[in-house]
């Protein structure tokens, strides 16, 4: 019995959330006395893909078709379904993300599989197959029993603490049959800030709200993010006002993040914003209003002026190196 892990490749390397998915798949395979096989689609070196062994995979199927170099959830789902057949897998594990959800959904319909998204811990496989998932945008959890023969699990970031080993996994080529209909959409243009650290992958996020008082005041926040190696995010009003690009919007109707550290600067903490960050391990709130509701959801709070505090924190980070 194998657990098949679908991983996302970004700029030639396995995404951090996908590494967590490999580790999750490997632990689950261990529970079921099976093996974890990785399916990687896209350009990556053998040395990079072999690393999947560090997180517990026993082998890697690599698809390096040029037609698949550009992210294409329709074709990826097709390839995934074929790999499920080739490996006789009954469980598919992938990181919950925009691409992950799309691939999981289409593969589920092909395989008549159940898809459970937002899984937060290893399934209970003692009696039946029970998983715990995040629901109501992180405000609650549900335990769900999956009864279908094939099961697809979308893993939420930080579901498990990843432990690396020294192992490496052999890489084999996998050649799927591609369908013309999966390439019906034409890609007209891609706008991507490629140098930016992705919000969903970041361990640390520094985020700004209306308390930053204007788009020209972002430098102190960017400096702290730079010093910490953090990604930058913002609240909904900030992206609505076009102070920051839409893809930085964190919250109920924006991106949901789950970093190790979330630093909120001048964000009051509307419930819709909290819904986007409640998966974070540690929340730091900096706000001049001591009554800001965000403090109630925070681990550390500083009441003060962001423009005074941020540069001092940046210096403290640099000095601590």
């Amino acid at each position: 019995m194998s657990v098949l892990v679908f991983v996302e490749i970004d700029n030639g390397s396995i995404k951090k959330t996908s590494r967590e998915a490999i580790y999750f798949g490997a632990r689950l395979a261990e529970q079921l006395s099976g093996e974890a096989v990785v399916l990687a689609i896209g350009e990556a070196t053998e040395a990079e893909l072999e690393q999947a062994g560090k997180w517990g995979a026993t082998r890697v199927l690599h698809v390096s078709e040029e037609k698949l170099a550009h992210e294409n959830s329709l074709a990826y789902a097709d390839v995934l379904a074929q790999a499920v057949g080739a490996t006789d897998s009954k469980i598919i594990v992938l990181a919950k993300s925009g691409l992950g959800d799309a691939v999981a959904a289409r593969a589920a319909a092909k395989l008549k599989a159940s898809v459970v998204s937002g899984v937060t811990e290893l399934p209970d496989t003692q009696n039946g197959f029970k998983v715990v998932r995040s629901i109501y945008t992180g405000k609650a959890f549900a335990t769900v029993e999956i009864k279908s023969a094939i099961k697809i699990l979308g893993i939420r970031k930080n579901a498990l603490e990843v432990v690396e080993s020294e192992k490496s996994a052999p890489v084999e080529g996998f050649t799927p049959t591609l369908r013309e209909s999966d390439f019906a959409a034409k890609v007209l243009e891609v706008e991507k800030a490629s140098t930016e650290l992705s919000l969903t992958d970041a361990d640390i996020i520094v985020s700004g709200g209306r308390g930053m008082k204007g788009p020209d005041n972002w430098q102190p926040l960017l400096d702290l993010a730079g010093a910490l190696g953090a990604a930058t995010g913002c609240s909904k009003p900030v992206s609505d006002l076009d102070w920051r690009p839409h893809h930085e919007h964190i919250g109920q109707t924006g991106i949901k993040v789950a970093p190790n550290i979330y630093i909120a600067c001048g964000i009051s903490g509307a419930i819709q914003h909290l819904a986007g960050v409640n998966g974070s391990k540690c929340i730091v709130v900096i706000n001049k209003d001591p009554e800001a509701p965000f403090f109630k959801a925070a681990d550390y709070g500083i009441v003060g002026d962001v423009f005074d505090i941020l540069p001092r924190l940046t210096r403290a980070v640099e000095e601590a190196r």
Binding site: E71, S73, D101, A102, A105, A108, A109, A113, S114, V115, V116, S117, G118, K130, S134, Y136, K139, A140, F141, A142, T143, V144, E145, K147, S148, A184, A185, K186, L188, E189, V190, K192, E196, S198, L199, H246, T253, N260, I261, I271, Q272, A275, K281, C282, V284, I286, K296, A297, A298, D299, Y300, G301, I302, V303, G304, R312, L313, A316, V317, A320
Partner: protein, 245 residues
């Protein structure tokens, strides 16, 4: 152009979540239900597209009679007719199978819905419906224009967006800023009363997942306040106390 908009009936974003019956049922007491915020964007764009190109907008919900106020609201916003599949929406696969069944009886050019429902946040119904119908699906779509038989749309990707074009029919999961939410006006509310709201029975689908119980997150410990003049302490605390840096 025939557009189908699928809406979810979900607790308001500010609702306090709690459970009853030994944590096996969502506690609806005092909870305001709304059209899913993402679905609301899809509906608004569908109504705009109908105004530009003509055609019809049908709004669909898989749910029990408590969804009717949300369907009436969608009719007041500008949908032409409504369909409710009379059943409790148990999981994504079940809901998608109901939507695909309705869609297969009518040839819609566009099937729009939110990128996810805000109760279970799966974000998979559009993909499931697309695959079940054998047509392409994309999400999250933040811009959409139609010319003839072709859709031009932008999809959010990690750190940016991707502009695509594809022939109809399509299933799209929508999010802001595809359109501004619409508020029904008095005339809309009056005409909505006479529009058709058809209630149909579900098709049977095997139960593939069964809910066992709900749980609330452990309560948050208190926030440790750091005086502003000692803000630098934070970095050391993140390292030594919280052990996250």
């Amino acid at each position: 152009m025939k557009i189908l908009v699928c809406i979810s009936n979900v607790p308001d974003t500010t609702a306090k979540i709690s459970f009853t019956d030994n944590d096996t049922k969502f506690n609806k007491t005092g909870v305001q239900f709304i059209i899913g915020p993402y679905d609301d964007y899809a509906l608004a764009r569908a109504v705009e597209l109908k105004e530009q190109h003509g055609g019809t907008v049908t709004v669909l919900n898989v749910g029990e009679s408590e969804s009717d106020p949300q369907l009436r609201k969608a009719l007041a916003i500008g949908a032409d007719d409504a369909i409710r599949v009379n059943t409790e929406p148990t999981d994504s696969y079940f809901v998608a199978a109901q939507i695909a069944h309705i869609a297969s009886q009518n040839s819609y050019d566009l099937i729009l819905m939110g990128r996810e429902s805000i109760d279970f946040n799966s974000g998979v119904v559009h993909g499931l419906v697309g695959e079940m119908l054998g047509i392409a699906s994309y999400s999250p779509v933040m811009k959409l224009d139609i010319t003839g038989n072709e859709a031009k749309f932008a999809r959010e990707i990690d750190g940016g967006k991707e502009h695509l074009s594809a022939a109809l029919p399509l299933v799209l999961g929508c999010q802001e800023p595809i359109a501004e939410w619409k508020i029904p006006n008095m005339r809309g509310i009056m005409t909505a009363r006479t529009k058709s709201l058809a209630v149909v029975e579900p098709v049977s689908v095997d139960d593939s997942t069964v809910l066992e119980k709900y749980a609330l997150p452990a309560p948050k410990g208190s926030c440790r306040m750091i005086p502003a003049e000692e803000a630098e302490q934070l970095i050391a605390l993140l390292k030594t106390e919280a052990k996250v840096l």
